[in-house]
Structures are given as structure tokens and as C-alpha cells.
Amino acid sequence: MDGIEEITPADFVALLRLVCQRIAAEQDWLSELDRAIGDGDHGSSMARGWQAALDAVDALPEPLSFSAVCAAAARGFVNSAGGATGPLYATILMRGGAAVKDREMLDLGALASFFDAAGRGIRERGKSEPGDKTMLDAWLPAVAALDAARTDHKKLAEALNDAAEAAEKGAEATRHMAARLGRASRLGARSQGHIDPGAASAALLFRTFAQGVTEG
């Protein structure tokens, strides 16, 4: 997909498949992060969720549409991942899919609205705010970076690279958060010093999209 400026539904499925592989590869690290401040299952939940999402997508009849792919992936994900990640990624996929449901191809603008709608979905489903030390803290900076890149007329690959960098910085920043709200605050000061696992996996998702578009 090197240099491509538009993503077809098939490209999109290919990108989701890369995410699935990347998450599976980083599964142990993600669970390790969750062990520090949660219950240690984030890696396995994500891996299971994405595998089920791809299985559901692979069972779809041709031709593929963004909304069919997103709906199937959401349903597969939510019923397999379990935990908080399930409904959050289901909401991400459903809201994102709804935002681009009439498109045949996604350009940078469409992809930005996909991730923007997804981010609003996270906030609603999770009743969470930025600074709560959640995946939002990686997601929202990435959405903002995509928006900025669009204003600057950057290429899709470059824009996604900016988004990935912003998400990684956002994830890294959760290390120092001791949010008043959200799960982290239950641990008090002890949550500080640890990256939020959901933020870390969200950053992996943006990084994988960027690499997928760049390297094809």
C-alpha cells in the first residue's frame, strides 16, 4: 500500500489482520503491563478479540463493505475478548464503521473521522475522560494528530505516522498519571510508574496502521 492515499475495504481488512498479528506478538508484554495495575489479562483478551474479529470478517461474503467488516469484527471481538476491552473495541469498530458507512474508499479525511467517531464511542461507553489513564490517553492524541496532518495536507502514510507517534507519546504519558478518576486511582500512588495497558495496545494499533500503509 506504499504511498497509497486511499484504503479499500480489502486493504482495511489487511490492516486489521496486521493489527491482529502485532497484538498476538506483543500479547505477553501487554499482559505484563496489566499485571502491574490490573488483572494481567489484557494481552490475552486483545489477542482473542482480534482473532475472533478476523475470523468473523473472513466469514463475510464478498463484496466487502466497511460497515459489514466493522459490524462483523465488532461482534466477533466483543463476544470473545471479554473484559473491558471487548465492549470498548466493539464500540470503536461500530462507531467508526458508522462514520464511514457510505464510503467505498477511505482517504485521510475519512480515516480521521473513523478514528474520531471511535474515540467519542470510547468516552461514551467507558464514561471516561482524558487523564483517567486509559486507552483514551493514546487514542485522542492520535485523532488530534490525524486532524493536524489533514490541515497540513500530509500524505496518508505520514499522517498515520504522526498519529502513531502521538499515540505512543500519549501511552508513555500514562506512566506518570495518577488519575483521580478511573481504574488507576484505585491503586493510589502505586499506579504511578506504570503504562496503562489499553493505551499501550492502542498505540500498537496506530503504529501497525502506519507501518501497514507505509510498507504495504
Binding site: 489479562d41 466483543v78 471487548g86
Partner: protein, 340 residues
Amino acid sequence: MRGGNKMTKKLINDAGTVIDEMLAGIVAAHPRHVRLLDHSPRSLISAGAPRPGKVGIVVGGGSGHEPGFLGYVGRGMADGAAVGNPFASPGPDPIVATTKAVHGGAGVLYIIGNYAGDVMNFEMAAELAELESITTRTVVVTDDVASAPISEAGRRRGVAGAVFVFKAAGAAADMGRDLSGVAQVAEMANASVRTMGVALEPCSLPATLKHNFTLSADELELGIGIHGEPGVERGPMRPADAVADAILDRVLAELDPPPGSDVAVLVNGMGGTPLMELYIVARHVLDRLSRRNLAIHRCLVGNFLTALEMAGCSISVIKLNDELKVLLDYPAEPVLFRDF
């Protein structure tokens, strides 16, 4: 001391099939009391459900807390359980399937612990049930005093105190109360119970076979969650009475039951702690409550809501009014407690 990088050992065949095999074992062992739905293998349903006109009660959450959640399915308690993977909420599909299977026309009450995953999945399921014209209500159990200050009690985790909530609500439903009445009973029980736990040793998930935290040989963790979530204090090992006191201090400070009033107590094992130790703890708890001039209406001691093989316990105290006393005394037949 357990912990570090060593692998744990489990009597399992495959981490991917533990839940389905456990459920198959449960229905094979208790075929007259529970069944699984053909079209939803993670839905455990009481043999008596649905009962026309009775409010259905659905419990659920991650597995690994057995007899937690699914074990409370049975006459006088829950009508069905939606069963998640180890320590992970079930998705909306099994919750909706369970809801439909236990709906007797009077609506369905969900009783769940306050975990983001459970709350969001049951919320999605409730939206889907609504589409099929089934009215649901959700009561979120928040008894763990260690998980947030009282000013933010709504954010507290749900732990072993849920057993009293299941019992009270199950009795109210069996007596024929309507959905809002049963939900009210569950809210009242939840508002009356406080719990705090302690871990001496960690547990490990089937998928990782690794301990989910590490305590050194002379440490314990006060305020531990039932998934091994960190507690409020990691401190030195101490005698059982001192552990019980540390927990009771916090539980009683909030609950502050007036002298002469009735309470019920649950000394709950986390899975790996022998009954001998739980009764040693119970002795001190009951002694202290009696010295405070409280009447012990009922005391449960054993593994009621576990965290796999974690070593440790939790102590729950519930303040009782006349209504709760009647409800806790009402007969119940939860499937995993039908021994003799």
C-alpha cells in the same frame, strides 16, 4: 512464597477449553439442577427457570471465582449465569441468551460486580434485551472498601459481599416481588455490606501459568482484589488476628452497626487457603463483633467467591434489618452447594 517466573501447574487440558470443560463437568455432575443452552454454551440455566411471573435473576462475570457467579444458580438464588473466560466478562451474546432463557414475563435483574468490563458488557446486553422487549434492571455490587474512598463508593469493586446480595434478591424474587422490588432489595443488601480482602500468595491464569503478582516470603497484601488487583497496603506478614483486625477496622468504621443490632458475616476463602485458617480468622471476627454487642445472625465460612488458587481471605459484614434477616434465612439451593 510463590511468584517470580516459575510456571504454575493446573489440572487442565488446554487453556482454551477450560471454561467449556468446567461447564460440561457441572452439568454432568448436576444434571437435575442446571442445564446449558444449546445455542449459547456459556449460559448456565437453573432447571426451574423460567418461572412465569417471577423476576428472573442473572448473575455473571469472569470465571475463576468458582463457586462464584455460576454456582449461585438454583432455586431461591439466581436463575441463570452468563459465564466469561477466566477473569474476563462474558460478552453481550451469552448475557442476552441467558436473559431470554430466564425471562418469565416479569423482567430480569442483573447483579454484577463493579468492573468496567462487566458493566459495559451487561449494559450492551441490556440494550439488546430492550430491543426484544425484555425489561432489565442492573444492580452493581460495590462492597470492597479497599478499592475507593467512601466519597467515591460508586467506583468500588464488587467482591464477596455479592453473595449476600444474590441471596437477598434471590429470596425476594422467589417470594414474588416485582422487578423494582427485587432491585430495591439488592440495592439495600449492597448498601448494607462491606468487605475487604487479603492475599498471602498470588494466583495464575490458565493461559499464562504465571503468577499475577509477587509477594515476598514475609509479605501480605491488604485490600487485594479478586483478580489480584493491588490492594491498599503491602506489609509484613502478621498473625491472623492482626490481619482480621486490620480488615475489621476499616469495615466497621464505615458500617458502624449500633450495639444490639444484627449482622451476618462471611469469611471467604480466596481459593488456596485451607478451611482451618478461615475458621481461625472467623473466631476472632465473631469474638470482636460479639464484644461490640452485635448479634451474629448467620456466619458463612468457606470458599464462596475465589480468585483461582490465590491464598488469602476476605471478611464481609452485612448490617441486617428485619427484612434482610427473613431474606437471608429463606431456603435456597444454589447448584454448587448441593452436597448432601
